[in-house]
């Protein structure tokens, strides 16, 4: 058996962020942090994709995470990034636990559209709610870490390192989960549900567990983005936000727990460059990039690494 290199690789990436972050410009640190947040959401999406389920509604949990962070900051003056992420993921997990009883019964297009519909309900609720800032949303205070507020020059670096720690830690936990019998069931469910049931495992239970984990990760991602950007609005629950996560997941591939973060980083880079080059047609550039990825890398960016290994 080949040795599992993933934990080492994750540690190496973290070291690179800690060291490289010292020389990166502020805007790059910002992109890196947002990539960590989006990568967390996509990591959860990857779990569902492995089981053959495409969720067009991860924005629901992303938005719950963000508004939890915002609510904590506004109502209780809690700006600690770790507390915000923890609270965001817990609330998202709780909602997913309840909704999972419904969603775990559906497959294919029904699962996709039902998850989309649920996220749009949240969008509608927030838009109608004056207390939550309606369509404008509201601003958050600068983040603190363990009760310390870093100086303006260091806050981006500190948040980026904290984000990388959480993101890579989550990746390590998911990697471990994927090596348990329950975690391995995903591809089996995608291939043949009847066989899984006839072998004595519950497909619904497995999907429910994956769904809750995915929501937990999305909640953490949402809280992280809220504190990084410093502003939240209902667009975070809008279906195009979910679409972006699916976009990143397809770009990244499901080959490894690192792929979602790589995908998010590449997505952020393409986005930034496209916007810089032509602000009016950046969506077209993004579409072209996805098209190229699908045509030339149908298994996602991660296949660049696995193919080389096989050769």
């Amino acid at each position: 058996m080949t040795r599992d290199r993933t934990p080492l690789l994750l540690a190496a990436v973290l070291a690179a962020v800690v060291a490289g972050g010292l020389v990166l410009p502020q805007w790059a640190l910002f992109i890196l942090t947002v990539a960590c947040a989006q990568g967390l959401v996509v990591l959860g999406l990857m779990l569902l994709l492995r089981a053959g389920l495409v969720s067009f509604g991860q924005a629901l949990y992303y938005c719950i995470g963000a508004y939890t962070a915002g609510g904590l900051a506004r109502a209780f003056k809690i700006g600690d990034i770790f507390v915000q992420m923890l609270a965001g993921s817990l609330l998202a997990a709780l909602v997913a636990l309840v909704l999972g009883f419904l969603l775990a019964r559906y497959r294919g297009i029904f699962f996709g559209l039902l998850s989309l519909a649920l996220s749009m309900i949240l969008y509608g609720l927030i838009v109608k709610s004056e207390a939550l800032g309606s369509t404008d949303g509201f601003n958050l205070l600068p983040s603190t870490l363990f009760g310390v507020r870093p100086s303006a020059a260091w806050v981006r670096y500190a948040v980026a390192v904290a984000a990388a720690c959480v993101a890579l830690g989550a990746a390590l936990l998911i990697h471990r989960f994927l090596n348990t019998p329950l975690g391995r069931l995903g591809p089996a469910i995608k291939d043949n549900e009847i066989r899984v049931e006839y072998m004595g495992a519950s497909v619904r239970y497995a999907i429910h567990v994956n769904y809750v984990i995915a929501a937990t990760l999305a909640g953490a991602g949402g809280a992280l983005v809220a504190t990084t950007v410093g502003h939240i609005d209902p667009e975070m629950a809008y279906w195009t936000t979910s679409g972006e996560f699916v976009f990143i997941a397809i770009l990244a591939g499901t080959g490894s727990v690192i792929a979602p973060f790589l995908g998010a980083l590449v997505f952020g880079a393409i986005h930034t460059i496209a916007y810089d080059v032509s602000p009016n047609t950046w969506q077209m550039s993004m579409g072209a990039a996805l098209l190229l990825a699908i045509v030339f890398l149908p298994e996602g960016l991660w296949s660049l690494f696995t193919k080389r290994k096989a050769a």
């Binding site: 058996m1 471990r176 989960f177 348990t180 019998p181 329950l182 391995r184 069931l185 591809p187 089996a188 995608k190 291939d191 043949n192 009847i194 066989r195 899984v196 049931e197 006839y198 072998m199 004595g200 495992a201 519950s202």
Partner: protein, 262 residues
């Protein structure tokens, strides 16, 4: 000998079609029972009811004295009643070895081993070995070692059948229902494959119920035959007697031969 499985008065209709009427049969422990009948006679419905995939409209099924009629497929599988399929049900994107690991992994999961916090390679209950070792052992017993790293999707028909049955072995079945284990296998290979299957399964000490259309295979491997026609059991006897029965000759053997000639 004690009955391991006892079906009493099973009835099942699908709209106007009667798939089972008053099906009653007690299966003895460690026996090998052949189910025969034309297409639509009710053999697969019988298997589907025993494994919980279909619920009978009335009647009861007892397994080792326990009523299992209302249990789900999953619960019944966990009790040790497993099945193979007429059309092999495999994990087609995975290799033969990974298919086997998946089956053994589900055993680990159901026994509460191999969870998130467990360390090392847990031993699969009943196999007394880690999953990797048990997988290779079962594949070897079914003559599948040569296909170990092949993708399940590209396997020849006979090999798919064997893998389908090998997968059930992960669960250490007490009762194994084989739905047409030799369909789609060439006439020359049938006896060899059936011999291999029966030996491998008997080595595990399972009671076997198999559906078969080839009467030579039935007479050679079954100790007892249940002949189905129109949702009823029209004969329940050792093969030599059952195959001589006038009704069986008319509705089962003759019908199968006629359709084979057509």
């Amino acid at each position: 000998m004690a009955a391991i499985l006892d079906a009493q008065g099973l009835n099942k209709t699908f709209g106007a079609v009667t798939a089972a009427q008053g099906v009653t049969a007690a299966i003895e422990k460690d026996s090998v029972v052949g189910l025969i009948g034309t297409n639509g006679a009710g053999k697969t419905t019988f298997i589907n009811m025993i494994t919980g995939y279909l619920k009978p409209d009335s009647g009861s099924i007892r397994y080792e004295g326990r009523d299992i009629t209302a249990l789900s497929t999953r619960q019944i599988a966990r009790l040790g009643i497993c099945r193979s399929f007429q059309i092999p049900q495999l994990y087609s994107s995975l290799s033969v070895y990974e298919n086997m690991l998946m089956a053994l992994g589900i055993m680990l999961h159901n026994s509460g081993r191999g969870g998130f916090f467990s360390l090392g390679a847990p031993r699969v209950p009943g196999h007394d070995a880690p999953a990797e070792e048990a997988a290779d052992r079962i594949l070897g017993r079914f003559g599948l070692s040569g296909y170990r790293d092949k993708n399940a999707q590209v396997l020849p028909g006979g090999v798919r059948k064997l893998l389908d049955i090998a997968l059930t072995m992960a669960a250490k079945p007490r009762v194994l229902l084989l739905d047409e284990p030799t369909s789609g296998v060439s006439a020359e290979e049938k006896f060899g494959i059936m011999e291999l299957i029966i030996q491998a399964v008997k080595a595990e000490g399972a009671t076997v119920i198999f559906v078969e259309h080839d009467m030579e295979v039935v007479s050679r491997f079954a100790q007892r035959v249940l002949a189905f026609y129109d949702g009823r059991i029209i004969a329940d006897a050792p093969p030599q007697d059952a195959l001589r029965d006038a009704e069986v000759r008319r509705y089962v053997v003759g019908a199968i031969e006629r359709s084979a000639r057509a």
